[in-house]
């Protein structure tokens, strides 16, 4: 029994139907714990005060914004190489979620940055990269919208995703080169030099787990409705409509 068996739309549909409530439930639980703990049971930062608490939304959403694109890249490659429809549809379903995550990261970042840096927006490499990532997401979404034939759309968007990934990485380096910014380093470094104290760290992990599961659940949901649409199209086609 191989994992690829679940690339069959019908099997995937059955399996995802069973997984979805668990993913959604777990996500809700993690988010509730993480956000409640983070917002109400952590001390204020000595320098940043209570504004630091936006970290429980800002960091997970930023993380998912990038991971969603990465997942789309992998799914696009699988579609181009192995032609599994579920893969292409999952990439399609992930895109709007990733877009919203990017938007959340940008907005919460602005809200956080205003009291900290005294400005809503700085041409900092991280911020700028996210803005560019947002543009890539929008382009990808519009591409899906514009092509009528679903398989052709899947092919075109997959190539766009791959080329876009290369250019996204290039842009990241270019922007870094262009301006060394004032954004703090990664909030969750795995090396010894933790920038974030444990008190903040533990609820943050819950929030991140919640966002990951939320993404997973939303992608499952989106893929399922895409499969439903394709099934409806297939039924229409069989009847010669």
């Amino acid at each position: 029994m191989s994992l690829w068996e679940y690339a069959n739309p019908v099997k995937f549909f059955a399996l995802s139907g069973r997984l979805l409530p668990w993913a959604a439930g777990l996500s809700a639980a993690c988010l509730l714990i993480g956000l409640y703990w983070g917002f109400f049971h952590t001390p204020d930062d000595y320098r940043m005060g209570s504004t630091v608490k936006i970290i429980y939304i800002h960091v997970p959403s930023a993380l998912m914004a990038i991971n969603a694109w990465f997942m789309m890249l992998v799914a696009s490659l699988i579609w181009l190489i192995r032609r599994h429809h579920v893969s292409a549809l999952a990439a399609k379903a992930a895109a709007p979620v990733g877009t919203v995550m990017t938007l959340i990261a940008l907005i919460t970042g602005a809200i956080w940055g205003q009291p900290m840096w005294g400005t809503w927006w700085a041409w900092d490499p991280r911020l700028t990269s996210f803005l560019i990532l947002f543009l890539f997401y929008i382009g990808y979404l519009i591409m899906w919208q514009s092509v009528e034939n679903p398989d052709k759309a899947a092919d075109l968007t997959s190539v766009l995703c791959i080329v876009g990934s290369v250019f996204a990485v290039l842009s990241r380096y270019a922007v870094n080169f262009w301006n060394q910014g004032l954004h703090q380093g990664a909030s969750l470094s795995l090396d010894k030099e933790k920038n974030v104290a444990d008190v903040f760290y533990q609820p943050l992990l819950f929030a991140i787990a919640g966002f990951v599961l939320l993404f997973f659940a939303l992608v499952l949901l989106g893929t399922r409705s895409e499969i439903r649409l394709r099934r409806a199209a297939a039924v229409r086609m069989r009847r010669g409509i």
């Binding site: 382009g139 092509v147 080329v163 876009g164 290039l170 270019a174 262009w178």
Partner: protein, 218 residues
Amino acid sequence: MIALLSRDLKLTIRAGGGFGFAILFFFIVTLLLAFGIGPDIQLLRKIAPGALWVCALLACLLSMDRLFALDFEDGSLDLLLVAPIPLEVVVFAKSLAHWITTGLPLALITPLLGIFWDLPEKGYFWVCFSLLVGTPALSMIGAFGAALTLGLRRGGLLLSVLVLPLYVPTLIFGAEVSRLGAEGLDLQTPFLLLIALTLGALSLLPFAAAAVLRINLR
């Protein structure tokens, strides 16, 4: 490939003002930009390298959506696809033709426009030279976008939305080279990166564009 190149050049020139339109557009946009900023010559001189780069980039995009659309409409793209010439070469030749009629004249005209912006003396050379090196990448990236949006409703609009974000790295390195050059500073790193970007785009993107064309022509 030579045949394709000379055909495309001939067609652009005969269509009237092939070289002219991009330059005219470039000229008008730089003029408008200066009007928008105000007559402070110190400020204009400071932002001239970047401003010229952005305007040239927009001018490059101007005729991009026609790159494959004309051949698509009259059926020659179908015929080229099944002709004994790799589609990658077709893409490359057409992008090259686009560069010769757009990027090249734009780069060559910038010193003249630099006068309006009171470019520093060294800036004339470096703005022109960085455009000369960078615009082939712009043409190639644009060709990929044109292949992607071929035959779509609102293809031209979509093209600019898709392609402009892809122009970011080229613009950053190119503008950096011209800015540093104008100020007489060391520009080796961005210059090498700009060259690398152009070479990378020229060698890899024809494959992506050809793949996309094949999908679009099915």
